[in-house]
């Protein structure tokens, strides 16, 4: 107990020290089933905050990130949220998963806390339903549409439509883009022949793959995180399948060829955030920070994603501070002034309006060629009103 009291004391002392602090909540997964991608993202956010504080802060005010590891468990995220909003009085939150973000959306709206989730669920893009939810990437649905478009164009045999399978987990994250994908398949003439459900954590996907083989899928989209994607790829290689695999942005990064080795060769993936070290102007400050603070570490696109989030919300905080409206409502209003906000190529320019929270609809598609991530295509989806919130 004593150490808890000491810890609390340290916390209070730190809180008292900086009156000119802006408190921002961070809900991350460092130990749960998505920790494979949650850890680099969290580090990106933390480093981004440190960099901002070392470079002028928010018009001179420092940011304090109040963060917590919720282990990808919804009740823990709710508890953490209550603590951040009730006790720590954070102004906004940088969150993580789809299940917890969708679980908190009513609460967030009631408390007027802007909530930037690392979940790109299309359900969070309609401000008439979720006015305080934001994210920094094309939605999962637009990403899947983009990939399906790539499939359609990649398919050379004009005598029949390409056959596609979806792999996803039976949870909010896994299912988020599926309905949009089903409809888009019909729209563009791709035959969705199979949907395979995989568990949250799994070591073997052979039975699902054999099922898929029987249905004769030419392409398959995997909507789980890196560890799961590499398991599927490894088993597919073992079975000698000819299916071309694609992955969502939480299954596809520099980590994938490292984990899945040669089984990852030729796999495509949507990459809303560039790989670490990519030659874009925005990468310079990340590289400088990396050289200065932890030159031995390796980073990936998830780390870049964490940074991109910080760059977006710190800009919103700056705009809100200038407008003398450093409140949840002020930050939301500031975010909705974003028009083609340029992140130096780390991700596509970001636009939010009060009627549309889709930051962008352009999805870069990468392919693993001899172990390297290579950009093959960019697909832009139209901002159809009927796709808002789907």
């Amino acid at each position: 107990m004593h150490s808890i009291r000491t810890a609390l004391f340290v916390l209070c002392a730190a809180a008292a020290a900086g009156a000119q602090e802006i408190k921002v909540g961070g809900i991350f997964d460092l130990t749960g089933i998505t920790s494979d991608v949650g850890k680099p993202f969290a580090q990106g956010v933390r480093d981004g905050v440190q960099w901002t504080n070392e470079n002028g802060g928010i018009n001179g005010k420092k940011i304090r990130l109040v963060d917590v590891d919720y282990g990808y468990k919804i009740p823990e995220a709710v508890a953490a949220y209550k603590r951040m909003v009730g006790d720590d009085k954070v102004i906004m939150i940088n969150g993580w998963g789809t299940g917890d973000t969708e679980g908190l959306k009513a609460q967030v709206n009631q408390d007027k806390i802007p909530y930037l989730s690392a979940s790109f669920s299309g359900h969070l893009t309609d401000p008439s339903k979720t006015p305080y939810n934001f994210f920094v990437a094309p939605s999962y649905s637009d990403q899947l549409r983009a990939w399906l478009q790539w499939v359609k164009d990649d398919w050379k045999d004009k005598s029949r439509n390409p056959k596609v399978a979806f792999f996803y987990g039976d949870n909010a994250y896994g299912k988020a883009p599926i309905e949009a994908g089903r409809r888009y398949c019909k729209d563009i003439g791709v035959d969705l022949v199979d949907e395979e459900i995989v568990p949250g954590a799994f070591q073997d996907a052979t039975s699902q793959l054999l099922n898929m083989k029987q249905k004769g899928a030419d392409y398959a989209y995997i909507n789980v995180t890196t560890t799961g994607v590499s398991t599927i790829l490894r088993d597919a290689k073992k079975l000698g399948l000819a299916t071309k695999f694609g992955s969502n942005p939480y299954g596809f990064s520099e980590a994938l060829p490292q984990v899945a080795k040669e089984a990852a060769e030729g796999v495509t993936g949507v990459m809303p955030h560039v790989p670490f070290g990519e030659n874009v102007p925005g990468m310079k400050r990340l590289m400088d920070f990396h050289q200065k603070n932890h030159p031995q570490d390796t980073h990936d696109a998830l780390y870049v994603r964490g940074w991109s989030y910080v760059l977006v919300w710190t800009e919103a905080l700056k705009r809100a501070d200038k407008a003398k409206a450093l409140t949840g409502e002020g930050v939301k209003a500031a975010l909705e002034t974003f028009k083609d906000f340029d992140l130096g190529g780390l991700t596509e320019p970001v636009t939010y309006t009060s009627s549309d929270h889709r930051p962008s609809t352009k999805t870069p598609i990468y392919q693993i060629k001899s172990g390297k991530l290579t950009k093959v295509r960019e697909v832009e989806m139209p901002r159809k009103p009927e796709w808002l919130g789907l």
Partner: protein
Amino acid sequence: MLSGEFHTSYRADMAIYETARARRVLAAFLVVLFVLPFFGSPYWLDVLNRAAIAVIAATGLNILTGFTGQISLGNAAFLAIGAYSTAYLAARGVPFALVIPAAGIVTALAGMVFGVPSLRLKGLYLAMATLAAHFIVEFLVTHWESVTGGVNGTSVPAPSVFGLPLANDRMLAFLILPACIAHLWFAKNLFRTRVGKAFVAIRDQDISAEVMGVEVFRFKLLAFGVSSFYVGVAGSLLAYQARIISPENFPLLVAIDQLGMIIIGGLGSILGSILGAVFWTFLNEGLRLMVSALSGQFPGLVQQFAPLRLGVFGLIVILFLVFEPDGLAAIWRRIRNWFRLYPFSY
């Protein structure tokens, strides 16, 4: 100075509070408990409410596993049934005073259905059967979308008293704490009745219980029913507190957690369920606060601290099992006896 206690009648021997002092201490504790919600911060009230809900659920599990000896891994599923019945009824405008008992009854019925295998199965085999129950319920809540909302979950309106919504944890505490106390009171008294004694007889030796005239199957089913009622009520309160529930709220880990609570607290002890659930909930939060504080001090090490929390948690549980296998309730008994017998402890 008590220097021990001496009963002169059977009535005194059966009493719940063995001394007048015990009654006064309990009364003082209850007063403090009901004053707390006026002062606690939102976060600590959330923890308090979750602890009280965990106490109800752990007591339910203890009735089944600790008192009747039927190992169950179905608690997460029963919580889910209670929570989803609540969501379903509350969304149709049923007041919470009816919803909570209804959720308990629905769960009790489900619990008795899943308890039927206990006629033929014992021990680990029964644990497997209840594990199956968990997966069946998990599948149902994920796929029966018209009722449960599927993976996206469903929201629960705040309970309201005369039009006043109990929208925050402070107000909910005045619903959850009395519910918790009422259930504890009932459980404590249950084991002074014929039914409760029959449960214990089944645990100790089911064949001799049958020989003594206890209808084993009937009482096993009843134990499943009573236990699931408790868990269903806990699930219902959980739904009202969380306000949005999805299948991700009820992973198997929740069932394991609750077994952990009653093992740490003390199997076959009402006090053990309370101590175990409170200890488990607060230890988890305490460690989390410590990790947060430490990561503020050593930002570079935060990636190492997060998993450390789980490791420390596991270590504490193991140490408890090694040094006090009878659980917190036994520790409490020793402390209490020391005071009671002081200064003549021999």
